[in-house]
């Protein structure tokens, strides 16, 4: 695997749209070619070379390409977005849309990420060592197709509206989450190792939510149906099992209604 190292040399005045900072766009290119890849700053088309010093060369394919980014990426959007393979390591905090629509490969952010990251993620591994903002792993604004595959792990906390319209895959938040967790979920699973604020699982059709800590205020559309022993992301414990959201439409399978599931660690 070849490594390309990007070091921030100029901070953008507005925000830089780094749609081309991913192994798919870099594959088969030398540093000089990578420097010529486009990047919007507002309505102006600039190049990656205007903002980064680029060292090394990419592998022949995305899968053979690893990108390491050093310097302050707080004003960089779309890093690793739409990546299909390969690896990206960002030694910084990043702005919005980081890792959104990714379908494969590994993306590691060593700082925090802003909102709308991991949107509609389809596959691969996306790890955030710091905190995540709002709408993590959700659907794009207006869309009804949220995260559908892959593993998204946040070592810190996440904001509100996490996992909205999630339809598959696994999301683990090791810290706390704010309001509106898993709204409109129709598949997949969300594990929160800390506490959740209000409105967990509103309008959930299908899917699973696990809360290790407390829910500030429970939704009225959930009903306890029993207690189960489970191994969740390496933790063996007893969980209270709820079904919901009772007020939402639910599909039937083999004559039985399929509900969303909420598990509260005892």
């Amino acid at each position: 695997m070849n490594t390309v190292t990007l070091t921030v040399k100029n901070t953008p005045e507005l925000f830089l749209e780094c749609e081309n900072v991913n192994p798919d766009a870099f594959a088969g290119k030398k540093a000089a070619d990578i420097a010529k890849l486009g990047a919007f700053q507002g309505k102006e088309i600039t190049t990656l070379g205007d903002y980064f010093t680029i060292a090394g060369e990419a592998g022949a394919t995305a899968a053979d390409t690893k990108i390491v980014i050093n310097g302050d990426c707080t004003k960089m959007k779309y890093i690793g977005a739409k990546m299909n393979a390969g690896e990206v390591i960002v030694n910084s905090t990043c702005d919005m849309y980081t890792g959104s629509w990714m379908s494969g490969g590994k993306l590691l952010v060593k700082g925090n990420v802003h909102s709308f990251c991991g949107l509609a993620m389809k596959g691969g591994e996306f790890t955030i060592e710091g905190n995540a903002g709002n709408y993590l792993g959700a659907a794009y604004r207006g869309d009804w197709r949220g995260m559908s595959g892959g593993v998204l792990r946040v070592k810190g906390n996440a904001g509100s509206d996490v996992g909205t319209f999630m339809i598959g895959g696994e999301m683990i938040i090791e810290g706390d989450v704010d309001i509106h967790l898993g709204t409109h979920m129709e598949g997949g699973r969300i594990i929160v190792k800390g506490n959740a604020n209000r409105r967990v699982g509103g309008q959930v059709v299908k899917g699973e939510i696990y809360i290790f800590g407390k829910i500030n205020v429970m939704m009225p559309g959930y009903k306890q149906v029993g207690e189960v022993s489970l191994d969740v992301d390496g933790t063996k414990a007893k969980f209270a099992e709820y079904i919901g959201d009772i007020g939402e439409r639910h599909p039937k399978r083999k004559g039985e209604t399929v509900y969303g599931k909420l598990y509260m660690k005892q």
């Binding site: 309505k43 659907a139 794009y140 604004r141 207006g142 869309d143 009804w144 439409r249």
Partner: protein, 568 residues
């Protein structure tokens, strides 16, 4: 203005019966003329196809419903918003493009006119604001009447003269072009939680049937002598077995003749007929009845139709057929927008994915192609996608490729996941016909121009007509053999002339033109009854004052008014 001479192109013009012969076209001062001076700029069209600018007869491209689609579907433009180099603005949106993209894309495909198919009279100002902002192409809009309280009350007593006087008043207030009728009676019934699925289902409270509304509106249209005919979106859209209602509705026009000074021959235009040509009793035994519907249409010279081709894309459905949108939302559970427009109409919007792995959607695709392939008279059958309902209008080049090449459409048909089921439910596989360039010119130029009452200036290349000319990189002697090649040629004109100016060159927009808004001013005898009713309804029911209803000229500063006189 400059002079041009378009030399050596293969000209296709049904107006003059020219079928691909090499002919020079002379242009001066915005018009096609017999000959130009030696100083005229020469456009070399050797090995290219030359046609008049195309006319869109039915699309939803401007107004509150379209805009509601735009704001409630930001996802429609997230991956499809580009700034292309040159003078154009950012082009946002796929199934519900911005007004700018709408103008550019029609022009790039060789269109010079588009009809907004459903204008709610109360929100006509919004429609005109968007039309005004849409560059290059001329436009007009059809106000909707099929569920309007005035109309329902007048036609219940068969008061055709009052109906006509009221329509004339609305056309003037809204700067409208003609009479649109969507799901007659059904949309009003929807306000009562009901629908009208046959032409004999009574409308609650008003006690009138769709049949009476359709007939009455045709009579009012001919009483006024409007350039276009009554334009109908029929009852029971999109349901298996609806073809019977479709033929029943078309039969209402039997014995009626067009009365107008515009050369229009039809009394009824039935839109997006693909959605109305279904047999079977449910989606399991669903089958195409395109043949049956077209056999009837072919016989009846006083009818025109447009297709409503499904393009197998993710799109946005939007119609004044409120109950139908609610029905769709129940099928796909996607977000539903619904609005009631006071005394006049309603509208609904639902995103829709015509997934090519689904047998029903593929069958709808096939039905849409069967319709024009069964059409005997290309001057009465026009290509549409009922944009954006069956697909975005930007897919016309692809639709043409399916119609013009059996190989291209059969490859798609045989490659469907549910190919056997689709082939069993439709007749497309047995059709060998390929639409010719000459027939295409009739279906997209001369035909719609005649049906819209615009044949004096639009749809042909005869001296005296508007210099609206599309030149395509298509050599008829070496017609492209693959779908992508055909598509590329129709999607990017070599040149588009609008009113004698080059607005597009090799797919690139060069000039924003001087677009015009068409509307019809119909003069009728003074009608005290209608004047009284308008006043009363505004006082009693409307949420706005009558004085705030009309569309001032400032909303359509580049208006082109067609006057008709119905006082004789």
């Amino acid at each position: 203005m400059s002079e041009f001479i378009i030399k050596n192109g293969h000209v296709f013009d049904p107006v003059q019966g020219i079928k691909g012969d090499k002919k020079d076209i002379a242009v001066k001062d915005g018009k096609i003329i017999e000959s130009v001076s030696s100083g005229a700029r020469v456009i070399n069209a050797a090995g290219k196809t030359v046609m008049a600018g195309a006319l869109e007869i039915h699309a939803h491209v401007a107004g509150p419903k379209v805009n509601a689609g735009r704001w409630y579907r930001p996802e429609d433009k997230h991956f499809d918003s580009h700034k292309k180099p040159g003078m154009t603005r950012i082009e946002g949106g796929k199934s519900i493009p911005t007004v700018f993209k709408t103008g550019y894309e029609y022009a790039r495909m060789g269109f010079t006119f588009a009809m907004e198919a459903a204008m709610p009279p109360l929100y006509a100002r919004h429609v005109h604001e968007e039309i005004h902002d849409t560059p290059i192409i001329d436009e007009a809009a059809l106000p909707v009447f099929g569920n309007n309280w005035f109309i329902l009350e007048y036609l219940k007593n068969h008061e055709v003269e009052n109906t006509a006087a009221y329509i004339a008043w609305v056309l003037r207030q809204t700067k409208g072009y003609g009479i649109k009728c969507v799901n007659p009676g059904g949309t009003e019934a929807w306000a009562w939680g009901l629908n009208c699925l046959t032409i004999h289902d009574p409308v609650p409270y008003f006690e009138i049937t769709p049949a009476e509304i359709i007939k009455g509106l045709i009579e009012a249209n001919e009483y006024l002598g409007l350039p276009h005919s009554m334009h109908l979106h029929q009852n029971d859209l999109g349901n298996p077995g609806n073809y019977k209602t479709t033929i029943d509705s078309l039969k209402l026009a039997e014995g009626m003749t067009a009365k107008n000074n515009f050369g229009r021959e039809q009394v009824l235009h039935s839109t997006h007929i693909q959605f109305h040509s279904y047999g079977g009793t449910n989606w399991g035994d669903f089958e195409s009845k395109a043949k049956e519907v077209m056999d009837y249409v072919n016989k009846q010279k006083n009818l025109t139709i447009d297709t409503g081709n499904v393009t197998l894309d993710e799109t946005t459905t939007m119609t004044a057929d409120g109950p139908f949108e609610h029905h769709l939302h129940g099928l796909n559970h996607l977000k539903w927008f619904n609005v009631d427009v006071e005394l006049e109409t309603a509208a609904g919007i639902v995103p829709f994915i015509y997934d090519p792995s689904n047998a029903v959607f593929c069958s709808q695709w096939a039905v849409g192609l069967e319709i024009p392939l069964y059409a005997k008279d290309p001057m009465r059958c026009f290509i549409t996608t009922d944009h954006p309902n069956a697909g975005p209008f930007t897919r016309y080049p692809r639709v043409y490729s399916w119609l013009m090449s059996k190989k291209v459409r059969d490859e798609l048909l045989n490659g469907f996941k549910k190919a056997a089921k689709v082939i069993g439910a439709t007749t497309l596989a047995n059709i060998d016909r390929e639409i010719t360039l000459y027939e295409l010119a009739a279906m997209t130029r001369a035909g719609p121009a005649k049906a819209l009452g615009l044949m004096k200036d639009y749809g042909g290349l005869k001296a005296g007509m508007n210099a609206d000319i599309a030149i395509y990189n298509i050599n008829p002697d070496k017609f492209p053999s693959t779908g992508p090649e055909i598509e590329k040629a129709f999607a990017n004109v070599a040149y588009l002339f609008k009113d004698g100016k080059i607005c597009v060159e090799e797919g690139k927009v060069m000039d924003m033109g001087h677009k015009k808004t068409f509307w019809v001013d119909a003069k009728v005898k003074e009608n005290k009854q209608v004047a009284h009713d308008v006043k009363e309804k505004f006082l009693r029911y409307y949420s706005i004052n009558e004085n705030n209803y009309s569309v001032p000229e400032s909303y359509a500063p580049h208006q082109h008014i067609i006057a008709v006189d119905a006082t004789q």
